[in-house]
Subunit: 142 residues, 2 copies
DNA sequence: CCCTTAAATGCAACAATGTTGCATTTGCGG
DNA sequence: CCGCAAATGCAACATTGTTGCATTTAAGGG
């Protein structure tokens, strides 16, 4: 093997997170890591038809609890999940959320610095969030 | 009367927007304008018990369509609505969304300038969005 | 290699949030 | 005051997320 970035296997990530390595979890983690964008539950469900709806919810939940994935609501109020290593790569990006199709796009602009918070507030994540219509939906609308 | 800011009545706002002035709409618009923070459908429903659930959805929808209110999902994926004049006053604020209680807080920091968008993308709104735990929830957690 | 056990899964039922169709009521212009 | 389009209220449905419980499976110890 040459100089490919040797990324850990999904199984190794699960083990490192201290949770059981199961077929469904491997499939979900692989799907999340392969995805270019944060995925909704519905998208993952369509992709991984062999996995039960509820199990998928619980797997995603477990990933978030154990730091393997992040979870955030998109412009339509639907949760989207991203593998954490994939996200780190995209870390600090600016997001554009299409109000029509609900899609999330990562822009290449640098994110602004977060401001000071009031006393007692704990910052988990800062996101510069643009909302509007993506090119595809804008074209389709006419 | 002295120097109070003379704000238009809710009825005048409805007329200006070109939609019928009805009791339910007045109640909802008054509630939105009186609210210090963006309100969820559930909160408004609890506040305005005399209004039908579906009617409330449709009223909020009409307000958004006619520019009287804005609509955005909070950290828990629930839509929150704000009267547009109230929002204009708070325009360009930075928002902090508590991941525990779902509350939205307006910070006084200036918002950053939006970056350039890819071709074809239409920007409707830009928001600097901080997520984490608010002071109250952080205290309660311990 | 098998056994045990706790964890994970799958299924069914439920809860919350948002939407649609339709009959009735109401604002508002003539 | 009348008529009509718009708005409302109700019932039913759709989607998204949650809970309880019986069954299966991963992982560690004989």
């Amino acid at each position: 093997m040459g100089k490919e970035t040797l990324s850990p296997t999904s199984a190794a990530l699960l083990r490192a997170a201290g949770i059981k390595v199961t077929q469904p979890r491997l499939a979900v983690l692989d799907a999340l890591r392969a995805a270019a964008r944060p995925m909704s539950h519905a998208e993952l469900e369509a992709l991984l038809v062999e996995i039960d709806r509820v199990t998928l919810y619980r797997i995603l939940d477990a990933f978030v609890r154990h730091g393997l994935a992040s979870k955030a609501a998109d412009a339509r109020g639907v949760f989207r999940f991203a593998a954490r290593d994939a996200q780190r790569e995209h870390g600090g990006h600016v997001h554009f959320r299409c109000e029509t199709c609900g899609g999330v796009f990562c822009l290449s602009a640098p994110p602004p610095a977060p401001p000071r918070l009031p006393r007692g507030f704990l910052l988990a994540e800062a996101e510069f969030d643009l909302r509007g219509t993506c090119a595809q939906c804008a074209k389709a609308r006419r």
